[in-house]
């Protein structure tokens, strides 16, 4: 039975560090970078005070941080790292090694803009640059989810049917540095939720080889298997989300309000809370993806079917592409389902550009107007710019 959950005031970053402590990880290797820094600070505090019995490896770069995690993970250890922006970019080659070696690493990403120009604030450019590295990608909207998703990430990653690294994304500052009440499971209940399952591992006595050279005749077999593993991890994520002990009803991988509204807004991360706040008052549908990779197509599609206009929010550009990352996914999904619903592709909140309630409200009003008038054009613009409908 679940003990009384404890309630604390915590920032998104503190919630993640607390979850890592409750998950009783064995190795933490991380390099501090804004806005992830306070996660690493807390974990350093927990390990030095003995609250967390883990090896804390103070590495000299993010490339090394993830390399330490890969090595440690392959010996069977439960590992954690966290980064942001340039740090994630520096990890780039190791991201693919972690997923290719099927290392069940959990990493928190406090999402931040990429240079140049230099900017320390939040957007999704960093994670979208790593989108195809073969990691499971979760997006937490608030500190509570940051805690919950970090714990669930270990359960998913280490599941024998999955064995893939998981990234828990929190918006830099707006979630990472925002303080809210967070219910925590505590170590004992977290341990019960995260049993240690045996897995193949590197050992002195029974040596094995991992990461060896693969010829063209075999490389594609491994990569195809890996891609399928990521695809089929969807069911495990859903199973784990449903069984999360702190919430009787569990979590859905896609959270939707006002399913029958003519306008459906789709997006990722903290900004969805602001849109849901308005959506409830303005009768606009809001679908928030808590899982981005694998893409929960079947879970999202029912919410898109009835919509007359779909507004897709991206906090990153994909320069030169037909659409920004999430809009590309949504358009592909619509096409596959034989739907021709018009899509407004809206890029917003780049480099911490505040998404004020008044801006979001104006966007929803325009979208409702367009849906009423049956104006069915695909358009794209940056939030805050004038909306010019053809």
């Amino acid at each position: 039975m679940l003990r009384q959950a404890l309630l604390y005031l915590m920032s998104g970053n503190e919630a993640i560090a607390h979850a890592v402590m409750d998950a009783d990880v064995d190795v933490v290797a991380a390099y501090p970078i804004t806005p992830q820094t306070t996660i690493v600070e807390k974990l350093s505090e927990y390990t030095s005070s003995g609250m967390l019995d883990a090896e804390f490896v103070p590495v000299e770069s993010e490339h090394s941080a993830l390399s330490v995690c890969v090595g440690a993970s392959l010996t069977g250890a439960r590992v954690f790292t966290a980064t942001s922006s340039q740090g994630l970019a520096l990890m780039h080659e190791i991201l693919y090694i972690a997923s290719g070696l099927r290392a069940p690493i959990v990493m928190a990403i406090a999402n931040r803009a990429l240079s140049a120009p230099i900017n320390i604030h939040g957007d999704h450019s960093d994670v979208m640059g790593s989108r195809d590295a073969g990691w499971i990608q979760l997006f937490a909207e608030n500190p509570q989810q940051a805690y919950d998703f970090t714990l669930m990430a270990y359960r998913v990653a280490e599941d024998n049917r999955v064995m893939l690294p998981v990234a828990v994304n929190v918006d830099g500052f707006t979630v990472s540095h925002c303080y809210e009440g967070v219910r925590v499971l505590g170590k004992e209940d977290a341990q019960a939720f995260l049993p240690r399952t045996p897995r193949p591992r590197l050992e002195y006595d029974t040596p094995i080889t991992v990461g060896a050279m693969f010829s063209p005749t075999h490389y594609h077999v491994v990569k195809t298997e890996q891609a399928k593993a990521l695809e089929s991890s969807l069911n495990v994520v859903k199973e784990v989300f449903r069984s999360y002990p702190l919430r009787e009803e569990g979590y859905d991988v896609v959270h939707v309000v006002n399913r029958s509204s003519p306008v459906m807004v789709v997006g990722l991360g903290g900004v969805m809370g602001t849109f849901r706040h308005l959506g409830r008052r303005m009768n606009v549908g809001v679908a928030s993806l808590r899982l981005y990779r694998p893409f929960p197509a079947a879970d999202l599609l029912p919410s898109l079917r009835e919509a007359e206009l779909i507004v897709v929010l991206d906090r990153a550009y994909s320069p030169g592409a037909p659409a920004p990352p999430l809009a590309t996914d949504i358009k592909t999904l619509l096409h596959t389902a034989g739907l021709q619903t018009p899509v407004w592709s809206v890029v917003c909140g780049l480099g911490g550009h505040e998404i004020r309630l008044s801006m979001a409200e104006k966007l929803l009003q325009k979208a409702l107007e367009a849906a009423r008038e049956g104006a069915g054009a695909n358009i794209s613009f940056y939030l805050g710019e004038e909306v010019n409908r053809p």
Partner: protein, 192 residues
């Protein structure tokens, strides 16, 4: 001066606060402590600063939301029920009438209340925060004085909850500063 009893008779309420001060004055800590006290009293809360690199002495804002329903919004507070100025000069940086909702509360640390500009339609409470911290010889406790004054003006949480929280985290002198700030304003608030 009459105090509006915000909470009474309101089934669903969200009370938004903006704390305005300078980097180093403990503005963010004040915003967070208020949230924590309200959390202890069973409310839903949110506290975050205006984000950016921290610069000592630069004008800074921090926001607190207190609600009896879950808080989904994740945008800065544009117009608050209560705005707290740690320094009267900052009134000229952030106009009270643009930050405060009509009929809202403004709490200002100032020595010369008569020199303040007119703030029509707002309930203004002043406290000489600098004098209080000087008398306690605690220059860094200005945020405690302002927090006490804010609670006196809004009664969003009980002074007792806040006192026990401050006693646990900070020094007895901070508790004193909190109490002094509360008393300065409480004496001039008439509950209606």
């Amino acid at each position: 001066m009459k105090y509006i009893k915000w909470m009474k008779g309101l089934e669903n309420f969200t009370h938004e606060f903006i704390f305005v001060g300078r980097g180093g004055q403990g503005v963010v800590t004040a915003s967070r402590l208020l949230a924590e006290a309200a959390l202890l009293e069973g409310k839903f809360v949110q506290s975050f600063p205006e984000f950016g690199p921290e610069r000592s002495g630069a004008p800074v804002k921090a926001y607190t939301r207190v609600s009896n329903t879950p808080i989904e919004i994740r945008a800065p507070v544009e117009k608050a029920e209560t705005v707290v100025y740690f320094e009267s000069k900052l009134i000229h940086v952030y106009e009270p009438t643009t930050l405060t909702r009509p009929n809202g509360v403004v709490v200002v640390s100032c020595r010369e209340p008569s020199a303040l500009p007119r703030m029509d339609g707002l309930h203004v409470f002043t406290v000489d925060g600098q004098r209080v911290v000087e008398s306690l010889n605690r220059p860094l406790s200005l945020n405690m004085v302002m927090l006490g004054a804010t609670v006196a003006a809004t009664r969003i949480v009980s002074l007792e909850t806040l006192k026990s929280l401050v006693a646990k985290k900070f020094s007895p002198a901070d508790v004193k500063a909190l109490e002094n700030g509360f008393e300065e304003v409480a004496a001039r608030v008439e509950l209606i």
